[in-house]
Amino acid sequence: MWYPDWALRRPDTPPGEPAQAIGADHRVVAVNPEAAAAGVTVGMRRRQAEAICPAIRSLASDPTAEAVGFEPVVRAVEGLIPRVEVVQPGMLLAPVTGAVRYFGDEWVLVGRVVEAIEAVAGPGHRIGLAAGPFSARCAAEMAMGEPLVVEDDRSFLRSLDVASLGREELAATFRWLGITTLGQLADLPRQAMVTRFGADGLDAHRLARGEDRRPQPREIPVDLAVEERFDPPLDNLEQAAFVGRALAHRLLTETGRWGSTPFRVVVEAESAGGATRSRTWRNTDPFDEATLGDRIRWQLAAWLDEARLRSGPGIGGGVVRLRLAPADLSDRGRQLALHEDARRAAETHRTLVQTQALVGPDRVLVARPQGGRDPGDRVQWSRWDDPPPAPAGDPAAPWPGAVPTPSPALVPDGAVPLEVEWDGGMPERVRLGSRWEPVLSWAGPWRRLGRWWDGQPPADRYQIVTSAGAFLCEVREGATWLTGIYD
């Protein structure tokens, strides 16, 4: 069940004018029919939408308020079908097999659901009924006015565009290869898909064939659920949300140790009056800490608001217990290296994130070896937590003319002039600060031709040893430059 314009169901939405709700990533998350008629679609960038429809009114999405407003709808559906799963404010999934059996017919059930949700939220909903969550979601997107009941998932999916997979890059690659519909994708051999596209390709192929991921109950150890008790009860949303975020972190750390991450989580809260409320949240991809933290915040906001306004059972008197339990686990957890300790890796990650906050992400760096002739060229720097770029040169290649090991421990960032006294092409003295140090021994020159096409002149590299240490320098265009200190 989906309300496509749920984010725009708010008092400040101008009636009869094109309007769009913008998410935190500056993309359109909801449009009203006027904006849709002008060509604005969900997922579009804000600038692009405003270029297509200059008169459009842009409103910042407020997921917390949307979740609070959606709670009565969830409750209404829950009154007819148990085990409802909320995907996002405005969209929910419900397993209907048992309910269909109870009501006798799919259309009877759909009619009751429509009646219930229209009583609390009015029209504008789209309902799709299919064998799997992906097909049901696609059906809801296509249902215009009347609910769409899919008889055969596989044949229904065949005609859909690959964009319905919801992965832009993958869909663009498929189109580039001439695969435009899910049917064409489903006809490809699965082995070839896995070989070429990995886990993402496998998921896409399964979805295209209608083999949507059903809940795959694995034996979940009881201790994976995390719980916190509060005395006095928490009745402040900010406090409760903060604790919820911390619990989300604990839950994901616990499941991470098993190499798994949850994609369904049951949020359970107990009120001071003893009532227990629980709600299952589902995500297309396995939850990360921020995503799960947001869901908990939305849910708590909805329950606390209900209690405050007395519009539903809510959590009266505040929260005394909050519990998160993974309902299903995905095997997409990160595989740790053999020497890696999960707890220590998490600590290191947290520490480096804090360091980034202090000095900026450009100053927390990791380095990878790459090919090159100079010590500075042999290092490829990248930001920590960024995927390392492809090395500019193969470090295993021979690189004739390269400065031999050991490498200088200090390599100046730019050219540093070095005063050297030469006698017949041989270094005699080096000026270090205010004093001249005699050269004890030296090696070189190693000639580097330089990139003449870039205007880089040729240079001769020398290793010069004094009683104060050894230095790597290069002579180009008659001047001597310090390029490394063997410190």
């Binding site: 947290r350 520490t351 927390v364 960032d413 040893v465 050894a470 200190i485």
Partner: protein
């Protein structure tokens, strides 16, 4: 790493009733097993430990070129048996190739560039929380108070910290092991031929880690592996001979 990486075999004699020439294969195996039991499991400890223990602060003193950067990296590599090594680079000159050569895995090395003395102390204190070992250059204007705070953080968190001040000395009593570069000599180069191969670094060690006595040690570095303390080559002031 330094003291423990070089195995030395003490000249221990086999029992007399076993003649080597009369041994069968199984007898030889038994004898080898027996000798292994008799021989010391590890070489004798050097008097100056060049691998900082958890909760230890090491201070390095000496001008650039004295070989202290590589020494500090090597000490941090030895201390961080688990976890990553963080290097706080004040000048932006640190070359990771040297760190890789002393045994730090590229995946375990993080370089943080920070030259602001106030932020520097906060950065180092933060890194002590989650890293296996920290090597940090000390900017010129850092005051004594944040350094003392760092030393107490090292003691409480147990992460070894190697400090290399860019100028001046660390406050007294801050570092449990203080190493001051006295002399450096390089081998391998001549008058325009050869290449740098090996260096010998003479250090003066002092502090609580050497029981308050000043010792002179000599360290050898081949460039492609960890440092090695050269046994019995160190000289020391009178009455405190050590090697």
């Amino acid at each position: 790493m330094p003291a423990t990486s070089t195995l030395t075999m003490a000249p221990t004699r086999a029992p007399e009733h076993v003649a080597a020439t009369d041994l069968t294969r199984s007898d030889r195996d038994d004898t080898v097993a027996m000798l292994r039991r008799l021989l010391p499991a590890s070489p004798p400890r050097e008097t100056v430990p060049l691998v900082p223990v958890p909760g230890q602060v090491v201070g390095l003193h000496g001008p650039a070129g004295m070989g202290l950067t590589r020494l500090g990296l090597s000490m941090a590599a030895g201390a961080a048996t688990e976890g990553s090594v963080a290097c706080v680079d004040v000048r932006g000159w640190l070359c990771p190739s040297a760190a890789w050569e002393v045994g730090i895995d590229p995946d375990r090395l993080v370089v943080v560039r920070c030259d602001d003395p106030v932020t520097w102390a906060r950065v180092v204190a933060g890194l002590l929380d989650g890293m296996g070992a920290v090597y940090a250059e000390v900017p010129r204007q850092v005051k004594e108070a944040p350094l003392r705070t760092l030393a107490s953080a090292v003691r409480s968190k147990g992460t070894p910290l190697v400090l290399n001040p860019l100028s001046g000395m660390l406050p007294g009593g801050l570092a449990q092991l203080r190493l001051e570069g006295r002399r450096i000599s390089w081998e391998g180069t001549g008058a325009g031929h050869g290449r740098l191969l090996r260096r010998r670094l003479v250090l003066e060690a002092s502090g609580k880690a050497v029981k308050g006595m000043t010792r002179i040690i000599e360290v050898e570095d081949h460039g492609a592996d960890a440092l090695r303390v050269v046994s019995r080559l160190g000289t020391a002031p009178a009455r405190y001979a050590a090697g």
